[in-house]
Symmetry: C2
Subunit: 138 residues, 2 copies
């Protein structure tokens, strides 16, 4: 029931990247020092985030990263899914998976779907723009 560290770090990294949106040209190393995370870990994260289409990467000298979309169009759900895959509390709520042996007779399954959607909705309701502000009013 706990979020993986990678997903947590990914949110912090994306939040840092969003602050450099105008300038682009932000290297993974720069994000590492800003966030305080290990540099190789940030490299792995930006690789995942780029492959998921959240970051646009430019290789070579003078290259860097920038947001692929406006910060307002990126939510926590997008970031979490990019790192951890589809949001599915149990295997039975995943679109076409049939791993559970209790398929059909299980009466818990529909309730998991409700809980799962509540979680996903809560994550989707937090856009990246809300995370960029340095201090949130108490």
């Amino acid at each position: 029931m706990r979020l993986s560290s990678m997903a947590d770090y990914a949110v912090v990294t994306m939040s840092a990247a969003a602050r450099h949106c105008g300038g682009a040209r932000v290297s993974a190393a720069d994000l590492a020092v800003e966030t305080g995370l290990p540099a190789p870990t940030v490299q792995k994260l930006v690789s995942m985030l780029s492959k998921a289409g959240l970051l646009r990467s430019a290789r070579g000298a003078g290259g860097g990263l920038q947001l692929a979309r406006p910060a307002a169009a990126i939510s926590l759900a997008d970031i979490v899914e990019a790192v951890e895959g589809p949001i599915a509390l149990t295997s039975c709520v995943q679109h076409g998976r049939h791993d559970c042996a209790l398929e059909g007779t299980c009466n818990v399954q529909p309730h998991w779907a409700v809980v799962n959607e509540a979680l996903r909705g809560a994550l989707a309701n937090v856009p990246l723009t809300q995370l960029v502000q340095m201090k949130v009013p108490a």
Copy 2:
């Protein structure tokens, strides 16, 4: 972002135990055959659930298990917390933990608390009574 198998199994086990509420005297082995789960796994689960105060256990010959509280007073949140510990998506939302190095400067933390509470609320809104019914209306 996925629920552990143990927590999933625990919900199924509690659901099965709730059906025998009147008769009490339900052995872990009986629950195993009803749910189709491995017997040793069910044994481990009932041990955890008993220690958490959700099940009342009676040892010795003719012993067994029964719900410690009415089914209506047991929610998914109770079962999940009994098996997985406190519901905390990140370490920073846990009451008094200070593991994160970004404490104070982190602007993401308050948002995690909101998401975490939404998840917990969704789990608390599903009492065990809703899971006992054999078939949920489509």
